[in-house]
Amino acid sequence: MSRGPLSRRAVLRGAVHGVGGVALGLPLLEAMIPARARAEDVGLGPIFGVFFWANGLPWHDGHGSLQAGHPDHWTPSTQGTGWAVPPLLAPLAAHLPTVLSGLEPKTEVPDSPAGQSDGHMRGFMVGLTSDRPRPEGFDHPSHTLTALRPTLDQVVAKDPRFYASFPSPYRSLEIGTSTARFHDYGHWNAISYNGPDSLNPAVSDPGRLYEMIFGISGGDGSQARRAALLDAVLADAGDLRGRLGAADRLRLDAHMEHLFQVQRRLSLGDIACTAPGAPGSSADLLTQTGIQADLLATGLACNITRVFSFMLTSPATTHVFGEVGVSQDMHTVCHAGDWDAIYAITLLQMRCFARFCDALAAHVDPLGTPLLERALIFGTSEYGEGYQHGNAETPVLLLGGADGRVRRGVHVRAPAGNLASAHLTLLRGLGLETPQFGFSGSETTIDFPQVLA
């Protein structure tokens, strides 16, 4: 290993950490650009995110016989590049979405006890973990169930290779927009899981998100003291740990791992992130998406994190889309079979997705690269369509270029193809060499080479 790049990497790491005796004025990362320009092996790395919307797509013949009789306004009619943009993808067209169509989860979910193989939460758990959920509690009125594995955002965030060159203050941020929930029992507040019962609730309040991104700089050295104090807390936990049963120890360990992350964040010192004015908040979904997206993009440009999940609407959302003339909640309208309403709502959800991408395209990192070029955003929903809970034709969009590793604007069609191949493509597109992905029948070693550059 040559000394040159290594030392520059160390300087860069020191700058990002705010430690190591590197004295630089603000903004720190901008000060690093000359070094970065010389050290071509040191990049700021790709950004990975999940963009989730609820209740799938307007149904069409491809979803099944019960759903037949409606046009497919989602799937491009030709593959490769240069396809005519279908109406539902029109809002995103400027951002060159890559479309994987025809996919469906191949994960086998048993139906005993009855009901667990269906349901909106099951849909997202399979769609984002490729494994079956844990069914216990699904038959209770609270519809309690949980993902068994980390969702894809956490697979990436916790992969030691992803943050190997230098860390970010947050391994990931979980953000939301709509606060409508089909159930209010808590586990519907998250599409991000670390494992069983361990959910990462979405932050839907722009004020709190602002605080999380821009409020972690102390400026007066108080942060280092707060970080040091946590050593005593961790020592307390060490006394307790050995006296607990196995399940309780796991929960204490998870807590302490999270506390360690808080400590690490506090010990970074000042983050070179210029705070915009305090954000407003809006009841309008598109406006609120813009507020949240702009905050996130400002943070991403400062390397506040490189992994996020964005829950526009939660699975089975009961959000009321009055702005497109639908007065009943989306879940009800969906099951009532009102195709026109679901079409209008989905088009609005795609406009929100586009607004989100606008923010990442407009913000540039300290090296002058638009964030969207570094990003790989996995846009998906819990179903192919929500009217009959159809899994066929699950929507998969890839936005952004993953630092040049993913081709933009490509359509690949794989009829009845394995959704886990999309997951594998994402992981490989991020440079995380992964021999196989998928569980419980969805295992695959095959990606979509057409979209990997």
């Binding site: 699904f138 507040n189 307390d236 007065s327």
Partner: protein, 509 residues
């Protein structure tokens, strides 16, 4: 009697807010991680889900901010500490660590812990000893000994694998159960001197906790969760159809349920099943108008009791806006949801989810203008649906004289309403008759016992709990279904004090 593992519950958000104030005095209410309610109860979420990273960060920020608030004021910090430290290792500092640690962790500190936090005080207080105390305060409020209800217990002679809670663990469990907060000085003293470990001492402590005003709030919190009132917050009646459904009306609907429960449980201390049959409502002005009741003295903030006629179909909590609204759609009523709620929440019956690929759409087709009751006949004609809907819909039909926000109505789509129905084969004339039926129904008591047990233990009951549940249910019935009697019996029951030894290594001190 077999014994289950302890639940190792973290304090719920509600408990944290109360405990912070009890320990520190009035403080700005910090933002805290939201509770989840799997199986209806905050305590179950608190005992099964690890704190998220964002939740841990909120606790850190809360502890830092509250400690800064207390120690930022010279008078306040001295009153809080009870002395003024001159150095970071003087008697004031040592005494503070012992006293605050004991309060915050609900037990005396071990010498190792004292030494650890003394070192923190010395470290952080090297230039200003007050900063040492502030750091100790912020740190101890993040320790797992504060954040969790730790229940390790002591071995029980002759019963390998079983532990009995220590006196301090029992004090904490009692206090958090009855008051949703940390033990007060008297309860801590009873733990210190061992009296809590005697049957008489325990009874005296339970009776004192139960008699205190603070037990009302915790009882109310249980009923709000057992009755799933959070769903009222999410109900979204169509504003074009129900223009009078305002935030004020929604809030009043929630309040009146708890007032009715409070009267039955706290003031009358009578058979709690009467909450289903009472011909009595507590209304403010908007609710009185909504129900069409005369309520002299009612105002936006004053709820007055109104006695309803003995034959009123509007009876008990199931005749109130909360139940009727949260179990309805935006425009239509839902006999199915109303019946399902009664079977699941009041009788603890299990209803399987609907089969895949059934049409849930009853709004289209030739009979779209027929009364809902006729359209729902599809449910019971289709054999795939009939098994469950024949149970769920008929009790729901009893409420068809109440619209989707609980207002009285006499017709549905221009036709008179048939509100007869049945509950599990028992024919009933109207909702009032259902309330009367539930007020003597023998499944209501055991269901309430089961729900309270889950709430108290922070977990689902298992076969290991069957004997305890049966004993408590029998005692509840024999005592005339007095809810306060049930609370007392539960706290005095052996199941409240025994836990299984941890399956891993480790020995209790």
């Amino acid at each position: 009697m077999p014994v289950e593992q302890p639940a190792f519950a973290r304090l719920t958000t509600r408990q944290l807010h109360n405990v912070y104030v009890d320990l520190l005095g009035p403080v700005a209410q910090p933002e805290l991680p939201a509770d989840t309610t799997p199986y209806l109860f905050e305590s179950v979420g608190a005992a099964s889900e690890p704190l998220s990273e964002s939740g841990v960060q909120l606790l850190e920020e809360a502890a830092t901010a509250m400690a800064a608030e207390v120690f930022g004021d010279a008078g306040r910090r001295e009153a809080f500490a009870g002395c003024a430290p001159q150095t970071a290792w003087d008697a004031c500092t040592t005494g503070f660590i012992r006293a605050f640690g004991r309060q915050a962790w609900r037990r005396p500190l071990t010498p190792t812990e004292e030494a650890r936090w003394l070192a923190v005080a010395a470290d952080f207080g090297s230039s200003d000893p007050w900063e040492g105390l502030e750091a100790v305060t912020a740190g101890m409020l993040q320790s797992p000994w504060f954040v969790y209800r730790v229940e390790l217990g002591r071995p029980v002679e002759g019963r390998p694998g079983v532990r009995r809670l220590t006196a301090h663990e029992l004090a904490a469990r009692l206090s958090l159960f009855f008051w949703n907060t940390t033990p007060d000085a008297a309860l801590m003293a009873a733990a210190d001197d061992g009296s809590l470990g005697t049957p008489e001492g325990l009874e005296a402590a339970v009776d004192r906790l139960l008699a205190d005003e603070r037990s009302r709030e915790a009882t109310e919190a249980f009923f709000a969760q057992y009755l799933d009132l959070q769903r009222l917050d999410r109900a979204a009646p169509d504003p074009l159809v129900f223009p009078d459904f305002t935030p004020a009306l929604r809030a009043a609907m929630r309040a009146e349920v708890l007032l009715l429960v409070d009267e039955r449980v706290q003031r009358q201390d009578a058979d709690v099943r009467g909450i289903f049959s009472a011909r009595r409502a507590f209304v403010n002005d908007v609710l009185a108008a909504h129900y069409g009741l005369e309520a002299p003295g009612a105002s936006p903030i004053t709820f007055v009791p109104v006695d309803l006629p003995p034959d009123s179909p509007r009876a008990g909590i199931l005749g109130l806006g909360a139940f009727l609204t949260m179990n309805a759609h935006a425009v239509d009523t839902s006999p199915t949801l109303r019946g399902k709620y009664i079977l699941e929440r009041v009788l603890c019956a299990t209803i399987p989810p609907p089969p895949d690929n059934v049409s849930l759409d009853l709004t289209t087709g030739a009979d779209a203008d027929a009364p809902l009751r006729e359209r729902l006949d599809q449910h019971r004609d289709d054999p795939a649906c009939a098994g469950c809907h024949a149970m769920m819909d008929p009790p729901g039909f009893l409420f068809e004289t109440f619209d989707a926000t609980g207002a009285w109505r006499t017709e549905d789509r221009g036709q008179p309403i048939d509100s007869t129905g049945e509950l599990l084969g028992v024919p009933l004339a109207d909702a009032g008759a259902l309330g009367d039926h539930l007020s003597t129904h023998e499944d209501v008591g055991p269901c309430m016992v089961k729900q309270l047990y889950r709430h108290a233990h922070g977990r689902l009951d298992t076969t290991a709990d069957a004997d305890s549940l049966a004993q408590l249910s029998e005692g509840f019935a024999a005592d005339g279904h007095r809810f306060r009697g049930l609370l007392r019996a539960l706290a005095l029951h052996e199941s409240f004090q025994l836990v299984a030894a941890p399956d891993g290594a480790g020995v209790a001190p």
